[in-house]
Amino acid sequence: MLDRAARSTKPGPVTFGILLKLDLESPPSQHSPKTALRFAYSSLSSSSKFQQSPPMSIFEYNGSAVIAMVGKNCFAIASDRRLGVQLQTIATDFQKIYRVHDKLFIGLSGLATDAQTLYQRLVFRHKLYELREERNMKPETFASLVSALLYEKRFGPYFCQPVIAGLGDENKPFICTMDSIGAKELAKDFVVSGTASESLYGACEAMFKPDMEPEELFETISQALLSSVDRDCLSGWGGHVYVVTPTEVTERILKGRMD
């Protein structure tokens, strides 16, 4: 008896935040006084009827916020700079947006290790394409490639939610996002992903206007990103913003709240 009660006061497994489950079958009266006290304590401290938080999602392990917006003949893609392990911040200059070529970018939110692995495979596949076709990949084609690579791992996915943004034929802006198994979601205005996605949706929905010029687009995407990550514990520490027009790529680093 004592052994079981003692075990139940131990903290739960820490790895993916699975909540400690208490064995409540035998009533506390059967324990010795000391055990009964420990029992009451443990059931108060670690098991509440009302707030059983679900186990942590692996998508929230590192924390991220990625966003892309379309303007007039241009687009912007931005992300936060934090890399964390749950609540602890590991790095504050982490790259989540990768350049595929000058008119095509991909932002990878979710589990950082999978994001980097996926990016390496994408670079490899893009290089093979360049060698064979002697031209850059169109954003639409690249989106299909990402989707195919993700679906290859349908039953053991990369825990990433990509955001793809690029300029296609006649410099028409293209943005899209997809889930971790490659279901594409094309959008005309903006796409968001990461742990701050809900905040980002709210901010973008209120701030976005169609056909913005590059300068205004930069201002809007930066305001949306910074105000969203300030309400998310797992993302923040400034931002990376790329504004891409047919003639130039501007990369800017934003300073933000450091908490």
Partner: protein, 219 residues
Amino acid sequence: MANWSPYDNNGGTCVAIAGANYCVIAADTRMSTGYSILTRDYSKICKLADKSVMASSGFQADVRALQKVLAARHSIYQHQHNKQMSCPAMAQLLSNTLYYKRFFPYYAFNVLGGLDNEGKGCVFTYDAVGSYERVGYSVQGSGSTLIMPFLDNQLKSPSPLLLPAKDAVTPLSEPEAIDLVKTCFASATERDIYTGDKLEIMVLNVDGIRCEYMELRKD
């Protein structure tokens, strides 16, 4: 029956903004459970006294019980003191009422808005067990994660840790604040399935209480 719960979540979003001489309290009128809409015309806003109005999301059965307790307590107060309760007093009463049921809480997320004794706008924001804070603006309920960053962006309030303490009221004029609330709800309705149908806006100022409505998306 094996998994019966005394609680439900009926969704909905409440926003309140305090200005120098006014207060705006708004909520949508949709009441839902799960993926179903129970009604498109349910008011989440309740007038507790002449100068305090409460908007509540969460479990509407608990909200009604809470409103009834507050109404009873307020009528006792009126008999004893021969006056209406002030908004800061109502704020403390609401906190105590919520904490009284600390171990079987009202599943209600409230914002209380009104005018204080100097006629300044005030907003109080709560959790379900009565922890509260006086702020310049607040949002509660299912659309809060969508609206909060936008309000932060538009109305950034001074840190409550600053010394000397700065006023939390927003610099906007009354019509600007009403417009901002309308924009917030129009945006939240686009992405939150529990927010929509109609927006009810209560405006408190020296002239009394005024009510406005705006149609929202119904899908």
